[in-house]
Symmetry: C3
Subunit: 205 residues, 3 copies
C-alpha cells in the first residue's frame, strides 16, 4: 500500500518534471527567436502540455489533465520565466536537458498509452495516444516558431516513444504488473533515446 | 433491406478508400521532403483522419470516428508504408490519385454534413462541417510540411466540397431520400472537382 | 432587470462586433496574400472564432459557442466577403480597425475568463482561458498565412489581454458586481492596448 502510494507519487513527480523539461525546451526555442517574456511563457506552456492536451481531447477525458490539476501549468510558467532570465545558463546544460527530455518523452509515451487503455480503446489506438502525448508538444512548438519539426528529423525520437508505447501494450496484454510494466517500458524507451543521443544514431531515410 | 445494407457497406468501404487516398497524398508530401518512414506514417495519419477528427471534436461526438473504429488508422498506416517503399510508383499514378482524391473529398463533404445534421445543428453549421471534414486534413498536412496550403490555391477544391455540402442540405430540406441525396450531392461535388482537374479550371482571384 | 437585460444584450452585440472585427483582420491577411474569396472566408472564420473555439474545447462546454448560435459564423462570413470586395476601403480604416480589435480582445479576454470561472476552474486556468479566447484566433490566422505570429511581436497585445483577465479574476475574488467587473476589467485592457497603439509602446525584449 505504502509502496504503491510512493510509486504513484513518484510517477506524478516525474510527470511534473517531464512537463517542466518540455516547457524548458519550448522556452529555449523562444530564446533563439529573441521573443519577449510573454512569448516565452506562451511557447513554454504549449510545449509542456500540448501533447497531453491533444491526447485528452481525443480520448474525451472528463477534464483536460492540466485543468484538473493546475500544478502542470505552474510548472510550465516557472520553467519559461527561468529560461527567460537564465537562458545562457540553461543552454550550457543542454546535454543534461536532452537526457531529461528523453526521460520525459519515455514516461509520457507509457503513461499516455496506459491512460488510453483505461478508456478501453484498441491497442493500436493506445500506442498512437502514447506517441501523441510525448511528441505533439514539440510539434506545436516547432509549428509556432516556424522551424522544421523535430519529430520529422531522423533522430530516433518518435521511434523511442513508439518502443515505449508498444512495449507497454504488449506487456500489459500478458498481464504483467503495472509498476513493472511502466518501469520496463519507459526504461526501454529512455535507453533507446539516450543511446541515439550519445551514439548519434539516426534513422535511415 | 438488403439494398440498404449494401448501400451502407458500400459507403463505409468508399469512406475507407477515401481515407486511404488522403493518407497517400500525405505520405507523398512526406516523400517530397525526404522524411523517414515514421514521419511518412505520421503525416499520412494526420492527412487521412485530420479533417474528420476536427469535425468530431467540434460536434462533440461520443467518440472520434477512428477511435471507435481502428480500421481507419490501419488504412492510413498501410497507405503511408506503401508510399514509403513505392513512392516512385505512386507518383506515376498521380492523375488517378487526383480522381480518387476528388471522390474522397466529395464523399467526406456529404457525409460530414449528414453527420452534423444528425446532431441538429443549423444548416450553415452543417455545411461548414462538411467542408471541414473534407479539407482540413490536407490543411494540417501542408502546415506540418510547411508549404502553402492547397486549400488556398484557386483550384476549385474547397468549392467542390462546398457544392456537395450545400446540395446535401438543400435536398435534405426538401425531404429527398437519403441514398439519392448522398449519390446526387457527392456526384455533383465529384463532377465539379474532376472537371476542374481535367479542364484546369481556376477560381478568379 | 431591464437594465440587466440591456447589459447582456449589449455584451452580446459587442461580442458579435468583436468577432466581426477579428474576421476582418483575418480576411485582410488573406488580401495581402491575394487569395480567392473562399480562402478569405476560410481565414476570416478561423480568425473570428478560433480562440473561443479552443477555449470551449478545453473547457468541455456542452456546445461550441458558434454551433449553439450560428450568428457568429454569419458575422464572420459577412466580414470576409465585405473585405474581399472592398479590401482597399477596409485598409483605409486600419487605425479604426486597430481600435476595434483592441475592444474585441479586451472583451474576449474578460468574457473568456468569466466563462472559465463558471466551470469552477482554478484562477490561473481562468486567466489562461481569457488569453486563449482573445489571442489564439490571430495565432491560427498567422500560422495558416505562414507569417510570424502577431502574438510574438513585442506589441503589448497579449499583455493587454492578460491585464483584463487578471483584473477580472482579482475583482471577482473580492465579490465585485459582475457588470462593474466586466466594464472595469475590459476597460483596463482596452486602455492599455489603445495606449500601446497610439504611443507605439513595445515590450522590452
Amino acid at each position: 500500500m505504502t509502496l504503491d502510494l510512493d510509486f504513484h507519487s513518484t510517477l506524478y513527480l516525474i510527470g511534473l518534471i517531464a512537463v517542466f523539461v518540455f516547457a524548458l525546451t519550448g522556452a529555449l526555442a523562444a530564446a533563439k527567436r529573441e521573443l519577449d517574456i510573454l512569448a516565452f511563457v506562451f511557447v513554454g506552456i504549449v510545449t509542456g502540455i500540448g501533447g497531453g492536451t491533444i491526447r485528452d481531447l481525443l480520448l474525451r477525458t472528463d477534464q483536460i489533465f492540466w485543468i484538473a490539476d493546475p500544478n502542470y501549468l505552474t510548472v510550465c510558467i516557472v520553467a519559461s520565466v527561468m529560461t527567460y532570465f537564465f537562458a545562457h545558463w540553461v543552454i550550457k546544460i543542454d546535454r543534461i536537458l536532452l537526457w531529461m527530455d528523453a526521460a520525459g518523452i519515455a514516461l509520457f509515451a507509457v503513461l499516455g498509452t496506459s491512460k488510453a487503455l483505461s478508456y478501453e480503446v484498441a491497442p493500436l489506438i493506445a500506442i498512437l495516444m502514447g506517441v501523441i502525448s510525448s511528441t505533439l508538444g514539440s510539434a506545436i512548438r516547432d509549428l509556432m516558431i516556424q522551424v522544421k519539426l523535430v519529430i520529422f528529423e531522423p533522430e530516433i525520437y518518435v521511434t523511442a516513444c513508439l518502443l515505449g508505447s508498444l512495449s507497454y501494450v504488449v506487456l500489459s496484454h500478458f498481464g504483467i504488473n503495472e509498476v513493472y510494466n511502466i518501469l520496463l517500458s519507459s526504461g526501454a524507451a529512455f535507453l533507446l533515446r539516450v543511446l541515439a543521443i550519445e551514439l548519434d544514431l539516426r534513422f535511415p531515410s
